[in-house]
């Protein structure tokens, strides 16, 4: 990994309005073209960490951030940063699929249209390419004008993935994307991740240790706001260095 990291977190601490400390002194580098997994027990700060990367935490008033969050070497929280452009570069898929109350096609063109893309041909191109990348094109290409809510849960989630891809981002963040899905849909999503990492930086909060072990190139264990250990996927799950990591990975607590 001689290349530069996509994201760098430099001594990042994050406190909520009511004084609760969500993250404590995190130093982390996330590299492009690989899957970085951030895992750990519930309430440990993983989702908070993820949302720092595209400033979705801005929606919560009264937060306090220390340290720096860098994207391609530039501080994401610097004054004057266009947060909307940032969110187009760094897309996010949430745990519960939320199709917008529109047709499938409109769901996909929503982001690009907001960004100012009007050209019909270009939009059609984006719709097809993003659906293909999310492994959904074959299933919906004939019904693009139907309401997105009519899709099954697994399809909806892949639609949400396609939605972020339609903006041609640089990084894709996924927050427990398969938590509500059946094993087949889960497998499809995990397979897509392998394709995705070839073009994007992928950061995922898995919903189980097993999923973490399946997909991770680089794994980060976060416990109660603290970065306990990180390392290459195979090594971290088979031979963790920290006792706490080992306890969590082997299921002694969770």
């Amino acid at each position: 990994m001689a290349e530069a990291p996509k994201f760098s977190l430099d001594k990042v601490s994050y406190t909520y309005e009511d004084g609760v400390r969500a993250l404590c002194d995190i130093d982390l580098s996330i590299y492009p073209n690989e899957i970085t997994v951030i895992f750990g027990p519930a309430g440990g700060g993983k989702s908070t960490l993820l949302r720092l990367l595209n400033r979705l935490n801005d929606l919560i008033p009264g937060r306090q951030l220390e340290g720096r969050v860098l994207l391609d070497g530039e501080d994401v929280y610097a004054p004057g940063v266009d947060v909307h452009a940032l969110r187009r570069r760094v897309g996010m898929v949430f745990a519960t699929p939320v199709p917008l109350p529109m047709s499938i096609r409109q769901n996909l063109t929503y982001g690009p249209e907001l960004a100012g893309i009007r050209n019909r041909a270009r939009l059609d191109e984006l719709v097809e390419s993003s659906l293909r990348a999310a492994a959904l094109w074959d299933e919906v290409q004939d019904r693009l004008n139907e309401p997105a809510v009519a899709l099954s849960g697994g399809q909806q989630q892949r639609l949400c993935l396609a939605r972020t891809l339609a903006l041609e981002p640089e990084a894709v963040l996924l927050d427990e994307p398969t938590s509500g899905l059946d094993p087949i849909s889960t497998a499809k999503v995990e397979a897509s991740l392998q394709e995705l990492k070839r073009r994007y930086t992928v950061v995922i909060v898995p919903h189980s240790v097993q999923q973490a072990a399946r997909v991770a190139d680089h794994a980060v264990f976060v416990l109660q706001g603290e970065l306990v250990e990180q390392g290459r996927g195979e090594q971290l799950f088979t031979m963790p260095r920290d006792q706490r990591t080992e306890d969590y990975v082997t299921g002694r607590f969770g």
């Binding site: 979705l56 969110r87 949430f94 109350p101």
Partner: protein, 281 residues
């Protein structure tokens, strides 16, 4: 007395009480329908009045009420919906926001006749619009604001937060989110609120007493600076101040006003149920 028996009696009592509320209204409306139906004809609605309002039709009053309702809508809907958007989508929990909400509650509580005085003082006299459709509409509009604001805000808040988060995560600004996702989804609820608010404005008499209403004006208004007849005021005058007014015509006028107002109720109810059926969330 056993507990079960007491319960049955209790429930029956509640039912009777409710009937005491419901039945007189049914009777009232029924009575007006029965007494007034004989006066209703196409001519009654679209013809001009004759013989000092004792015969002929109600057309100027109908037109006047329609114009006032439209005028109210023109002023109250944009402002009301904008305030609702502010409260639902932009406002933080600051002192200013609380004062605004307090002001809305108070505007809702001001008696309609006090609105009439206010309209007289500000629009008719101070701004020199004179007694006019303009003054009347503006007065009614301010009176209708609280209803529109509160129902519109409820409708906006009912839209799931997840849509907003998704829109923002796709790079949307707050306004883009409101305009493209939240507002379209809230529109039926907003519309219902607007219709109910306008319904009330159409039926009000006190605010228009000093600001626009005229009784003996058997011609149609030509501009917004004209006075006009209006159905509620018309009913009031013909039932209290015109000697030898045929009772049939009084009931007929009451019926026309009732139908005008209640049909808006029906439209609102239809809008609301279609909204529920077509919702995609």
């Amino acid at each position: 007395m056993s507990r079960q028996l007491r319960q049955r009696l209790g429930f029956a009592l509640l039912g009777i009480t409710t009937a005491l509320v419901v039945l007189p209204i049914l009777l009232l409306v029924g009575y007006i329908v029965v007494q007034g139906a004989s006066a209703i004809s196409w001519e009654f609605i679209v013809a001009m009045p004759r013989d000092g309002m004792r015969a002929g039709g109600l057309w100027p009053a109908v037109v006047g009420t329609v114009l006032l309702t439209l005028g109210t809508a023109v002023f109250a809907v944009p402002v009301g919906v904008a305030v609702a958007i502010y409260l639902a989508e932009y406002a933080q929990d600051t002192l200013l926001t609380r004062v605004i909400r307090l002001a809305i509650v108070n505007l809702a509580g001001v008696p309609s006749v006090v609105y009439g005085l206010f309209g007289l003082g500000l629009f008719v006299i101070f701004l020199q619009f004179g007694a006019s459709i303009l003054a009347g509409s503006l007065t009614l509009a301010i009176m209708t604001l609280p209803v529109i604001i509160s129902t519109a805000e409820e409708a906006l808040r009912a839209v799931p937060q997840s849509f907003r988060i998704v829109s923002l995560s796709l790079g949307g600004t707050r306004w883009q989110t409101v305009r493209r996702v939240v507002l379209p989804q809230a529109l039926p609820g907003v519309l219902t609120g607007v219709i109910l608010g306008l319904e009330r404005a159409a039926g009000e008499t006190a605010p228009i007493l000093f600001t626009v209403a005229a009784f003996f004006l058997p011609r149609l208004p030509k501009s917004i600076f004209d006075q006009t007849m209006a159905l509620p005021y018309h009913l009031f005058v013909i039932s209290t101040q015109v000697p030898e007014m045929p009772v049939r015509i009084q009931y007929g006028t009451a019926l026309v006003l009732l139908v005008f107002v209640l049909s808006m109720n029906v439209v609102a109810a239809i809008t609301r149920s279609r909204f529920r059926a077509k919702r995609q969330w």
